[in-house]
Symmetry: C2
Subunit: 473 residues, 2 copies
């Protein structure tokens, strides 16, 4: 990786023809090996023998499929389908060939070896997509979304990545940056005439513009915490006193929904967190067993930690034993609980569990405590779908209603830094500091916004981004 | 599987449009989902939106690639490349589309679900190749080679499968069968005139033909044991007295050659067998630790078992300590060893180990014992490449010189049965038994030969063959 990203601007490396397995490793019916670069057809002319006599690979047309053999000297490695894409009408913008061969590991290895021997080099992770970026096929934020798309494991994380790949908030950021550029050019103009002490840029107009920019950036920054929970699972805490059936309830939900309990890459998963995908949305359940104890110091630390975890939750399922608890008790313990946690974007759902122990189901809890209340029997698996429906409905209403969601932590950091630089700028304008200092702050804001879409890029930045891709993309 | 192969002749099932993931399961840059059947384009018309306005999937041309989106109602599942193949010019002989999408597991699952919801059913294992067989794209033995090719893990097993896929001994068997058919038709003709007691078929000519057929079939049958060892690894026993350095030698060979020690599917691999691929040939080393002990009954059983294993070996590396052993001793122990094992297709190689303990290397062992002798020091890793070169050379000379190798146990069994039926026929002809009995035996031979290439097939047979494929092929 270092070799490629350490010399990004080296025209030589960019002109190499690259090759990699594009399909997942392992045995399958077929595997696809991808070649991209100027030597693509020269390499194929040495190893591909078309089934059609007189075939000339250099005259092959784009977006066509050719049947033939891949041969190594005299011996046939495989019978393959060759898909040809002519640059610039291709994923990378270069000439591309995709060899669809039989999916044996042996053939996959030998095929790559053979292509390397004939003049290609192995592609670095994400190098195809990086070339697409360099050739203007995507902006940087779209390129990043390709990797997110490949690793998305639920409908919502998929939608987020797909939206970003198709443009997403790139355009919004580009627009913000253009407005800021107009502003910057006036400031730079003032610098040229600094000795004359003129003001081309009206200071109050400028402050107003910065205010508008900050408002848009703030909205994007705030969307990040939503984007983040969507990618890593929306944290849900199941809380309540001991023996009200919290674990039984969790297990019942997990089983009832034939949950896809998935390992999401990048999530720090301790064993006490379970993820479940309900209607395309990933939920991450937080264990609150720690709340059971109380008393001595060590246990108090445990409780403290549990509250910290609960504070991360977006939704709280507050469970009580409906057969043993009065309305007053619930109200009291709920108030007590709410005092221990931070208020904020949390949705409470009351679960009146153990309805199986009741003769008839009471109807008045919900209205009394002014929270959505679901009557359930975890033991008998009753009321579970009401709970999951309510979880999904709440998320759709509160989190997913906004179209523009920043889920990439790099973008988040760049937005924060751009916002800081704009704050300095506004502050400087108000205090009337020298124009050259203001210009520096504005340039800084422009830089960070430009980093998001790749209008400004450094080797280190690109290395960080594309190095995280899988090889072959 | 039962559902498909239990009703192979059902025109209805054959007319279904089938769909499956064709690439290995898991995350990759891209994944390919394959659709085959009459409804292929109808299904695509519901879910594929071309990037080109006014595009009509029903007018799409074969062997072309189209860029567009796969959509589920309003929402975009992915941006894809669609490869179109028009029957009969396709793998199955039917209309085929291959959707090349981003390789996320989520997208792969949703894509297959979406296609199923729009009118396809999930393909059974090997169902694409089975359709290719039914549509006359391959004979049965070629179809089987596709599965072998996908699971081949060394150059030789790959070559074997590739040779079979491209025709191999199919033609030879078809030719044998045609000759037998001529013969059978004369016999059947005699049956029509049975009351007149005529002989259309000259008995001595018939016996001669059967003799020729048997000769060809015998050659194919004999090649099976070679085909089998090529697929599962050529068994090599490292034998010798205790402390001559057998294990050190094996480990040294394994390490020195940076061995690809692979798990070959279908091999019964106990922990005491190591496989190594040298120059594309898979070798399976047999541990002979059991030979160390001798004496009481239980140990004798161990020795017995070890000799059984050694008897499976095609090659024997006989190791001795060159620093402590005289020529006479070697000769004697070698003779003693050879008395304990079955003679046959075994190649002996003498390894004069521990040359590091000698002042100068003696040159005369080789000539004296009339076996290839290699001087080595397993400890110092000397002479190892000589050993592996000799192993490879010997295999190439003794096993791989013949082009026609039967490696499929089903073919082997059919050949054995055909041979038996021909024996009965010849026996009947000599003894002058009634023509109708001879006719039965000839039909039986025809049946078994026809089973190899699929000229004769039953549902059970096809179910057995294609059921072993992976889904998607």
């Amino acid at each position: 990786m270092d070799g490629v990203y350490g010399s990004l601007n080296s025209i030589h490396r960019q002109q190499d023809t690259i090759c990699a397995l594009a399909t997942p490793p392992g045995i399958g019916a077929i595997a696809v090996i991808r070649i991209s670069g100027k030597q693509t057809f020269t390499i194929l002319s040495k190893i591909f023998v078309s089934a059609r006599p007189g075939f000339d690979i250099f005259k092959a047309k784009g977006n066509r499929i050719y049947f033939g053999k891949i041969t190594d000297q005299e011996s046939i490695l495989d019978e393959v389908l060759l898909s040809v894409f002519k640059g610039p009408k291709s994923y990378t913008g270069e000439d591309i060939a995709e060899i669809s061969c039989h999916g044996s590991i042996f053939i996959q290895q030998k095929m790559v070896e053979l292509i390397l021997r004939n003049g290609a080099r192995l592609a670095a992770p994400g190098e195809y997509t990086m070339r697409a970026f360099f050739n203007g096929k995507f902006d940087l934020s779209q390129a990043e979304a390709v990797a997110d798309l490949i690793h998305s494991s639920s409908q919502t994380s998929h939608d987020l990545a797909m939206n970003q790949m198709r443009g997403g908030y790139s355009d919004e950021i580009k627009q913000l940056r253009i407005q800021l550029l107009d502003f910057a050019s006036l400031i730079e103009l003032e610098l040229d005439f600094s000795e004359e002490d003129v003001e081309f840029a009206d200071r109050s107009n400028m402050l107003e513009l910065i205010g508008q920019l900050q408002k848009s950036i703030k909205k994007l920054i705030e969307s990040f915490s939503t984007g983040n929970v969507i990618r890593h699972g929306i944290p849900v805490a199941i809380v309540g006193k001991p023996n009200v059936g919290k674990s039984t309830l969790l297990n019942a939900i997990l089983n009832e929904e034939r949950a896809i309990v998935s390992d999401i890459p990048g999530t720090t998963r301790d064993t006490i967190e379970d993820t479940i995908i309900l209607d395309g949305i990933c939920f991450r359940f937080i264990d609150t067993a720690g709340l059971r104890q109380s008393g001595d110091t060590i246990e108090a630390i445990g409780i403290e930690r549990t509250y910290e975890k609960i504070n991360q939750a977006r939704m709280i399922l507050y469970v009580f034993d409906v057969s043993e608890t009065s309305i007053e008790e619930i109200n009291e313990s709920l108030l007590d609980f709410q005092q221990h946690i931070e208020s904020g974007q949390k949705t409470f759902i009351l679960v009146a569990n153990k309805t199986d122990l009741l003769v008839e189901t009471p109807k008045h809890f919900g209205t009394f405590v002014d929270l959505e209340t679901i009557f359930a029997s975890a033991k008998r698996k009753e009321g579970l779908s009401l709970i999951s429906d309510l979880l999904v409905k709440t998320v759709r209403k509160n989190l997913l209603s906004d179209q523009t969601i920043v889920s990439n932590s790099r973008h988040y950091e760049a937005l924060i830094k751009a916002s800081e630089a704009l704050n300095y700028t506004a502050d400087g304008l108000i205090k009337g500091i020298p124009t050259d200092l203001i210009a520096t702050d504005v340039r800084s804001a422009l830089h960070y916004l430009g980093e998001i879409t790749g209008q400004v890029s450094t080797e280190e930045l690109l290395g960080n981004i594309f190095g995280k891709f899988c090889i072959g993309k």
